[in-house]
């Protein structure tokens, strides 16, 4: 029934359009002018609309910036993230300034130079000086942007991880897991061929380093202590995305990737600033299958004492093996 109704509405709309078009053409014939010729009147209306709606677009942009500002991610909660934020503010300011200069010019020129049968355009072919200026200025500005960008990138990526807490983040369709290296601070060997329903990470149980490893479904970090996440994927490409820390890295089967960072704010602190519901969360950010939209793992940043308490409670692999036996 609804389908028939929809069809009917569409049909009626088309009939209306046909009739309206016919009427406007007939009117044109009566007035002895071509309806499709653009008149000075048209130029006036369209030029005016260019100005009004063009400026309306800018107002819409400003409205969004004010109205939705509170929805944006809070300030970075990591050392390198704060530097990224500085670069982001700089780049955003730059592009907004350019946007709010160039866009009004485009719409204003359209309005200001709307056509008129009496007028003639100004014959201007080129102007080397002007062209030189607007090639050289973007070049200089971009040199700045590139240097600033590369410095920030270098700091974020080339981190000395010798003192960092190592944590393995393991991913498969559609779940995240993590492995802490235990007291020896060395992750035991693993191999995808060893993966079974009981050994989900494919850990080499012969490897002595693996005995004290701890597999967890939630990652705890110590505030202001450097950490390096080592990523492993078992099936397809996933992407580990921790937006609050400005951390993202693809997890690729057959390839080990990593991201090193230092969290600077505890979860408790963030709850105070952002509301009680706040949690650090790891999302999947690379299309990976039907439940791609529903993969998350909680991250908790806390003090050393809280962290030690939590870690002590987690079972090691040898504990688990014992209980199984």
């Amino acid at each position: 029934m609804t389908n028939i109704l929809i069809a009917l509405v569409v049909l009626l709309a088309i009939v209306t359009l046909v009739q309206l078009t016919r009427v406007s053409e007939l009117l044109g014939e009566l007035k002895k002018q071509d309806v499709n010729e653009v008149t000075d009147e048209d130029n006036k209306t369209q030029g005016f609309l260019m100005l009004i709606i063009g400026m309306g677009f800018l107002v819409f942009v400003i409205w969004q910036m004010i109205e939705w500002n509170h929805l944006l991610l809070p300030e970075a909660a990591s050392v390198h993230g704060q530097e990224i934020d500085v670069l982001m503010r700089f780049s955003m300011t730059l592009i907004l300034v350019v946007f709010f200069i160039v866009t009004p010019m485009l719409f204003y020129f359209s309005y200001r130079y709307r056509g008129n049968k009496q007028n003639t355009a100004y014959f201007l072919v080129h102007n080397n000086k002007l062209e030189f200026i607007w090639t050289i200025i973007p070049t200089i500005v971009l040199t700045g942007v590139i240097i600033f960008g590369l410095k920030t990138w270098d700091k974020a990526m080339n981190v000395d991880t010798s003192d960092s807490q190592e944590i393995e983040v393991f991913v498969k369709q559609f779940q995240w897991l993590a492995r802490f290296p235990g007291e020896d601070n060395i992750l035991g060997k693993s191999n995808f061929q060893l993966i079974t329903p009981t050994n989900v990470l494919g850990i080499d149980e012969e490897d002595l380093n693996a005995e004290d490893d701890k597999i967890v479904r939630e990652v705890h970090l110590v505030v202001n202590e450097p950490v390096v996440l080592k990523f492993r994927s078992q099936d397809v490409i996933h992407s580990a995305f921790l937006p609050h820390f400005r951390v993202q890295m693809n997890c690729v089967p057959g390839l080990s990737t990593q991201f090193a960072f230092t969290p600077t704010k505890t979860t408790a602190q963030m709850k105070k600033e952002e509301g009680e519901d706040f949690e650090y969360v790891l999302l999947c950010n690379k299309i990976c299958g039907a439940a791609h939209y529903n993969m998350q793992m909680r991250f908790v940043v806390e003090t050393q004492e809280e962290y030690d308490l939590w870690l002590a409670k987690q079972k090691t692999i040898s504990d688990k093996l014992l209980t199984q036996k």
């Binding site: 071509d34 709606i53 677009f57 130079y113 080129h126 973007p138 990526m157 939209y293």
Partner: protein, 584 residues
């Protein structure tokens, strides 16, 4: 081969070798695919605004998309996103745009009777047509069409166990895209040869209209990059069907340990984006060419800085080959390599800025005639500015860490390459419709269509930047699992409202297009008072374009409002007056 030979219905309308007819075939096929692609986006926009609910709108889309509850399931959602991307990127904005306007404009604007090889040209369309049939067919096969995103990254696209769409649907996708590439290579080679060899007397490279320059560089990009996509797809076929391990290694899926060892999915990404990035400019350059032409004609003013415009097309074309890595900053590539790609990527801003300033300078002190084509051309420049600027964020590897693969990217590329290119394409259709069909499109309907589209399009894509800055990843079926995104419901509803309204507005265009073909008012010889050669051909379509001798060219294409001339335009065929200087 001038002229009038007997044409049957089949040689005239179906297996035509006339470039003008082939152009129309590309246009109509592209438009049908555009409708399909847009309906798909309407469906998933409804889902995003009302997650998991049923909607009667879902019934509008051909193919079985809904589950027994009448709602869209997550894997169908991904299938829709994938097909929407594939259709819009390849079918509409590559074949629909380049295929139409390269075919239509190249011979007409350079003064040739037809393409260098009419037969290859015909083949190019029919390869494209078969590709289209296979792609549409793939919607109906068991498991559904390809669902791993239009970029089809393995292992997801290689493993039917990982997602149902990677079964038969993916096989058909690969076959379809292979035929598509063959078609576009045949077309591209033809365009290049035609432009280089068949220019009429006096049509030096420095006198080519910017449309032809843009189409030339586009064709070169296509010929150099599409074969890489072909080999990239071929290796994927081997991995899928013949047990090789080019892209696969260390995989356990559904509890099964696969034998693949030593391959790298990252290799696929390198090969894919080696096409994928030039592809962006394969889409964008023809649109910018059309925009340049339409703006100059309707501003009644020469395009400002013709040589700089040509140079920036060439520079953009060159740079587009050495920036592909910016799609892969987060793959774990060596940070130094990331730095190199950041550097090359941000350089593209320079020729782009030059183009924008030249457009502004063209409009300055112009005498603008607001045809619907002109409105779309100006909107195209606006979209190029708006979307291009956010490229400065995404191209910067450090900033990309947090916006990569979020809605910020979706907003960015839909504006800079989606909107600019669609606006360019629509400007082209409105502008050259009289040449294609001998009729005028209704102006007032064009105005309504333009303003509706312009408002809705920014209403759809601008808010997406905020979703991205809030951290929302793209290709999420819904975001209810994450309390941090709860505030975004309003934005999603607004986007969906504009998306559906925008889709309805396109009905006006479709109506205008079809109505005008049959019932539109007849056009005059040169309705826009344009300088270029296509307006010297007869209104009635003839095979061979000019009934008598080919025209000879005596000046560049942009002598509008030249002081000392009687009218505000001078056809390229008009010889220079004594003492008149050719300027550009």
């Amino acid at each position: 081969m001038s002229g009038h030979h007997n044409e049957t219905f089949i040689t005239k309308y179906i297996f035509s070798q006339d470039h003008k007819m082939i152009a129309k075939q590309f246009l109509i096929t592209g438009m049908i695919m555009a409708i399909l692609g847009m309906l798909m986006s309407a469906v998933f926009r409804v889902q995003l605004a009302n997650p998991g609910e049923s909607s009667i709108l879902y019934n509008l889309l051909p193919g079985g998309w809904v589950n027994e509850l009448g709602a869209l399931s997550p894997d169908k959602y991904l299938a829709l996103v994938t097909m929407h991307g594939t259709i819009l990127v390849f079918w509409v904005l590559t074949a629909g745009l380049s295929g139409t306007f390269a075919n239509f404009l190249i011979p007409l604007q350079i003064g040739a009777r037809d393409m260098a090889s009419g037969f290859l040209n015909m083949l190019s369309y029919w390869f494209f047509f078969i590709a289209t049939v296979i792609l549409v067919w793939s919607i109906y096969v068991e498991g559904g069409p390809a669902s791993g995103g239009w970029t089809i990254y393995p292992p997801l696209s290689a493993l039917p166990q990982a997602i149902p769409g990677s079964g038969t649907g993916m096989t058909l996708w690969l076959i379809s895209i292979t035929l598509f590439v063959v078609g576009s290579l045949l077309g591209g080679l033809n365009y290049i040869v035609t432009i280089l060899n068949l220019r009429t007397k006096g049509m030096s490279m420095q006198r080519l209209p910017l449309t032809v320059w843009a189409l030339l560089v586009t064709a070169i990009l296509g010929v150099l990059s599409f074969p890489v996509l072909l080999s990239c797809g071929l290796l994927l076929v081997f991995d899928r069907s013949f047990g090789t391990s080019f892209y696969l290694s260390d995989i356990v899926v559904n509890g099964e340990v696969l034998h693949h060892l030593g391959g790298s999915p990252i290799l696929f990404e390198h090969l894919f984006w080696f096409l994928g990035h030039p592809e962006v400019y394969i889409i964008l350059l023809p649109a910018l060419g059309i925009i340049s032409e339409v703006i100059s004609v309707n501003a009644r003013k020469p395009i400002f800085g013709y040589k700089a415009m040509v140079a920036s097309i060439l520079v953009i074309g060159f740079l587009s080959f050495i920036v592909w890595g910016h799609h892969m900053f987060m793959t774990g590539m060596n940070p130094f390599l990331g730095s190199v790609f950041t550097f090359t990527t941000l350089l593209i801003a320079i020729p782009s800025a030059v183009k924008v300033f030249n457009y502004l300078a063209t409009l300055w002190r112009a005498n603008i005639r607001f045809t619907p084509a002109m409105l779309f051309a100006i909107a195209g420049v606006s979209a190029f500015i708006t979307g291009g600027l956010t490229g400065l964020i995404l191209g910067d590897s450090a900033l990309d860490i947090n916006v990569h693969d979020t809605y910020f990217v979706v907003g960015h590329f839909h504006i800079v390459m989606g909107l600019s290119a669609i606006y360019g394409m629509l400007a082209g259709v409105y502008h050259w419709f009289p040449k294609m069909y001998g009729k005028m499109m209704n102006k007032n309907l064009g105005y309504v269509h333009f303003w509706g589209t312009f408002i809705c399009a920014y209403g759809v894509f601008f808010p997406m930047h905020f979703l991205g800055l809030a951290g929302l990843p793209r290709r999420y079926y819904e975001n209810t699992a994450f309390p941090m995104f709860d505030g975004l419901t309003d934005i999603n509803s607004i986007i969906t409202f504009f998306a559906l309204s925008g889709a309805v507005v396109q009905v006006i265009f479709l109506f205008n297009f079809i109505y005008s073909i049959f019932k539109g008012t007849k056009t005059v010889q040169n309705p826009w008072k344009s300088n270029t050669l296509e307006w010297t051909t007869p209104i009635e379509r003839i095979h061979g374009n000019w009934p008598g001798d080919l025209p000879s060219v005596h000046r560049w294409a942009y002598d509008y409002s030249k002081p000392g001339a009687e009218e505000d335009f001078i056809l390229q065929t008009v010889p220079l007056k004594e003492g008149e200087k050719e300027e550009h």
